[in-house]
Homo-oligomer: 326 residues x 6
């Protein structure tokens, strides 16, 4: 294995490769002449690559770890216009030795810088109780670690480590930019709401080698988890200060969380009923759509087409050339 | 005021009345000749009655308490086929002296008997953690008082003091009757889920002189409040026993609560994903519909018609004669 | 062919098999080197198995009956983690000689016992006209045979011979269990309605070697067919007794049939407008969901996952572990 | 009472009237000074007129028949821009003496001429079984009488005696005009389908002094009733000819009937699955919309406005001036 | 008439008034004793006031102009908790003499300042063709006058003279604030799109004494009108410069206009398919919701309630106290 | 290459072919043994045929033009019950030499005859301005050429050269047939509306070798393009005649165009608000459904089945035997 990794998104047909990959989705198949071959998926943080190993055996197949690592020798080739990998040899590779940063998709921004900027924006909050509440979250190291690692979604937008932070920060910046234009809004509530609106994602999704829903994520969901965490932190403060934490403050934050999907059919048990909830709903949607459209354009398989393939989530195809006016 | 109260649902046109009423919705109006008259609503636990006082004055009007009590003299008359009350004289009446049981609509069943029967049914639960959790709720006197008083809904079904308990008990009886027929169901989870599915109603609705949504009820809603209370009690148990309360148990109870409206558009952030949640969803719906249809038939204004008026909630009129086959 | 059949759901990779199968979906394909092979599906009452025959010819292909039987020699093997069958030889097998009980999916319960129990429950009906009507159906041997054989649905729930009876009996038991709890219901109407609600399925679906929609099933549907049959039997009674059969009784039974899907978009031309129709709608849904969730859990391909695959019909995945609380 | 009736749609403010009216919706009310007055509705075939009788008494009120007749003296006046009737005196009038043709809204076309033209169009049907089936209906005098009297709908379109025939004939004419343009259509099936598509309306709606839903109409509905009648007539033919009536013919006619509302949410349990059903669905809709738009324009209260009031059924207002191009 | 007008929103019960009002919705009614009285609505730019004139006559009634002016003497009084006006005398008042600024609801901002700020923001556009196109609109004095006068909507948001400009400017400010945060957006296209997205409102709505839909507004709608105007101006430029105006630029601007309602059911024939269209859709919605929530809170009739009345447009009530945290 | 072309829809398995095809969708794939083969689609005006070339090379692959022509030698064979083509040799073929009429799907009717018949029907229009407008379109040779070539849709109905004309003519014939039955309709407006309702299709879809959406088609859509063209032609007339073209005429034509899809969710920004728009909406739908059902029946892969496969567009399968009654 050479000094420098060759990342999947940089590979070209006809290259020889000898390095570690993360493995997903293995299959043992028989050829028409009765031989066995293996189909699996190689991953690193830049993407995935379908691979085949001819002349395989059941024991080789059994030695392949799913969601684990293999040191692989082989070569790339073009198949149906897409890249495919032919495995010549493989050997186990311990997860302990692997540099996770090479394999897990991760935000391209600096996590600590983003976190610092988010805290800086939240510092504008003046309301004493909201400040206490945010402090409580920020000082909960376990929460902060999970929040920094969490993706923003399973696949739709910002689906990578740090995605939740990246998305939350983008919304905080936008909120800051708009608050001056709508002075009737309660700026403290908006900023606290932006910070807290999706925190339950940190418990809804795993943020390890692969992004998946947790059981609690599927059964309860990030919206309710976020609301519960607000209640828990408020109760902690009340116990520590021996003073009731203001109920209306909790109610309003939970209302913002519960209503931020904007419609019942998108999983919100409540519809926005305060202007601050409307603002957060639109900023959330806007930031997600900015990611989704940019991502659809960048990753569209047919580079020559002026429209991307149809995107079920957006009920349309995206036109790629809006940036290029004569 | 005579020894025995004449209840509103027993009054006939042409009666003279001299007793205390609860007052709602007062208005001061001017006749076409410039005089003033008062329009208001008299209430007791059996219903409401529109009333008018001719030859009124602004000071009389101001002396009328909304959601408070008046000692009233007057008579009933027929107006447009409905009963109306003509007030001849009124004087203030202290809420302290009023016997609330005469004024607030209340379940016709015995609250303590219902509560005892519900506890008896819950006693069948064998799982240790579920037993602990239910014990925690049952020993929380403030919760129990609120639960016993709470209506089941603002107006749609069981809208009276004790309605939540009545509805919960009806579902518990039905669950008990069906559990033997579907032995694959987790009976403990079903029974605990029935008990807890609507507990947040006790904080969503007021249960005093008039039933109204609380601010927290409108902003957060009983579904989320119920889920939060389960988390809180589980956390209390964990603190007291110094052992983690099983997360899956909390997840499943919260899932049942969150999904029991069955569809996103009815405010459920999650759809049923376990058979126990489906059962509770159908039993909840069934009991509500049994109340709504019976209530529509009993209170339909046109006794001679074979169908009730159109019921927006059910998207239909109800046929009154399904009980009378030749 | 050995004395005892090896059923499809018991086969393991690497077994040699020599017995009769029901055949479905045959295809003749050419390999890349120009040879021919056959792809087909083997069936028995426990499931289906994809099969291939290498070195095939067009005449072999033509000799394979679709929805007919073949005596087959060959062996099982693992392909992509699933079982596949390699056919070495085949010869025709007359449908007359085949023991249909081995090939057609059939209820696991005893049909005659179920039928007897259903009649026993219906015996509680007191209304003279409803008793006459049910007697008319029960004495129509052609109807009874079809009813006993009919599946409850094409694929969604109880899709096997006897499934309609199994589903109807389950609903009758549940109705019996709940009638005591809702004494205002017309119990006679409920029990007759449960019996009749889906009878048209016997004409909507075939119940032979494969379950399919009949032309009449697709053009007219079981809801309308059921309603028509009620009219026909009532007319027969009227002709035989020379007395009009009470119209309201027919109307109410037809209303229950027409409204039992509960919503227009599920094919009900009428919405429930009597409490008895609501009860039957919920019991129907409940029993179907109990089948669907249990079936999804039992047949989920990935045994290790805590959730099943996504079920379009339920708009969710099912959590498999609700029965296992700590 | 003079020789010639003054119809309601010709009355102007300030006229004295002394003639018989049909009465609907009576109410006894008290004035603010305690007096009694009566509010009721006068009807004849041209419309309805709100009426008041001052200085009334309970006994006068009780003597007024609802859906019956009164000989009335009084005068018209303008009230809020609309016409109102002030009753000076009234006396009972026997329904036997009333000329119903003056009171019941009725098609402006000649019923017998329309019926003859419809039969003439149906005569083009060549298929033997369809001819037999239509003959069966046409020779059923009770059916024909009801069909000729039936309105096409309660209020939405052609809501008057003969409306069903008028609507059916309009569709038959349109079908005849289009059949030549779409020669692949089964013309026999189209014509028979047009005739039968709405026949159940004759049992769904009363066609007497007032148009109302019957109980059977509300519980079962005209779509299912129409389908049942087709089954009944086909069975009669089979009994009389001792030959089975072709099942497919029944299936297709019932399919056309069941699907002619075009969408589940409009009460069709089946969607169109043959071109003949699509044609009938569109012709039905087209004829109804032609009635509704013309009727909305003719009866719009504000003659000066270029748009009618909002029509909930059409989700829009209708522009009145499409006929007037420069 | 005194020197200074008393505006409707400042009137209190019991005041004597002698000044000009704009009149709407007049009615002539008869009292129960047979007298005539007039009901009408008085308007000025601050609101509307129901008024009655007792002892009226038909000739007085006929002399009242609808959407015209009257000089009125009378007094205010309290009726059912709301203000009502009693007219003692009235005389015609020529529209020519009326100071329209007193009667027509008008933005509270300075129109010329807003227009200047909007042009300043648009000056940031660098693309030559977009600059030309905007210049074409800005130099079309008839368009500019209409644009400055147009309301933003009939009633939902900014329903007053200058409302369209106010709304457009608010969106332009917000776009400017966010463009820096989403650098991949085509800023020129966003700014031009914001300016043009609703211009057709100037032809859809009247902006005179009362806001109404024009016939063209109802038949064609502002979305299509806006798109047509873009085509027209581009064609003018092409004619003047003898060079084709770039088609893609027209397509993208029209796409933004057509898709800015975001969903088909809100009248958009196209869904957003470029990121710029999503941004404009959200900013449009956000600004409208900020107006609607603030307006609902300010004008809620029950000042004591913590929630406004139910708002059909938002499917909820608005909580008034989100600005007041402890 | 023989004198006479063998069209794709006439080919049988086992034929040798040596002629020119239009090529679409090429792919280069590797066999399991490492060899290369090509997969592509052969087209002519009668259909498409999947083809494979074994023993291929990258240079052969590169020489294949997509949406271009090849002279091909090879043979047909049966694969999975469908026809497949094995290419033995290929050589480039210039598009200039190809007879496009052999390759592009084209209406089976005579374009010039259809156009003449359409003009003849339009000649019945009497309104001067509508005549001028239609003349303007008919004299625009570029428009006429595009209109005659345009398909009526991408795939749903009449997806071939001349399809728009065929569909428009069919509607014009139907309109002509019905106008006599609904004399209140403005016949001139109906006929002009039929002609113009879909003209934008000529710019929405390409009509060359393959039918695709244009960028403008996807971004703006044929509904809006059609409306714009009406405005443009009216403006031209106004410029030429120096008289304003009547605005109401433009409004009504645009209203018909905008509303002809009948519902917002099908892309209509306006709902029909004049009877003429309803008629055109139904005739458009009717003609499309007649094409879709006939086409589904003719092209259903399983000739023996009585129902076609499920058609997503119609939400049903189509019954094939409605034309065959006993």
């Amino acid at each position: 294995m050479a000094d420098k990794r060759m990342y999947i998104n940089q590979l070209m047909p006809g290259q020889t490769v000898d390095q570690v990959f993360l493995i997903r989705d293995k299959d043992l198949r028989t050829t028409k002449s009765g031989g066995l071959y293996i189909v699996c998926t190689l991953c690193d943080k830049t993407g995935t690559l379908p691979a085949r190993m001819w002349q395989a055996s059941e024991s080789i197949f059994n030695s392949i770890p799913v969601d684990g690592f293999l040191h692989i020798k082989g070569r790339t080739e073009d198949y149906k216009g897409s890249l495919q990998f032919i495995i010549d040899a493989m050997r186990p590779y311990s997860a302990d030795k692997a540099d996770l940063a090479e394999f897990i998709p991760v935000t391209e921004c600096d996590v600590e810088e983003m976190w610092a900027e988010l805290l800086e924006i939240l510092r504008a909050i003046k309301n004493k109780h909201l400040r206490l509440l945010i402090k409580k979250f920020v000082e909960d190291q376990e929460f902060v670690d999970a929040f920094k690692r969490s993706p923003a979604a399973m696949s739709i937008h910002n689906p990578f480590v740090g995605g939740l932070l990246e998305h939350t920060l983008a919304m905080a910046r936008a909120a800051k930019a708009l608050l001056g234009l709508y002075p009737k809004l309660n700026a403290d509530l908006v900023l606290a709401g932006v910070f807290l609106h999706d925190i339950g994602k940190a418990a809804e999704l795993t943020s390890g080698v692969t992004i998946k829903y947790t059981d609690r994520g599927q059964l309860v969901g990030h919206i309710t988890i976020s609301a519960i965490w607000v209640s828990e932190k408020a109760a902690e403060i009340a116990r520590e200060t021996s003073e009731p934490f203001p109920q209306r403050t909790v109610d309003l934050l939970q209302h913002i969380i519960l209503s931020h999907h904007g419609q019942h059919e998108f999983g919100s048990p409540k519809l926005p009923a305060i202007p601050e909830a409307f603002l957060i709903h639109y900023l959330d949607n806007l930031d997600a759509k900015m990611y989704m459209t940019a991502n659809a354009v960048e990753n569209d398989p047919d580079a020559a087409a002026s429209f991307t393939t149809y995107l079920r989530q957006l009920e349309t195809r995206i036109y790629k050339l809006s940036g290029e006016l004569e």
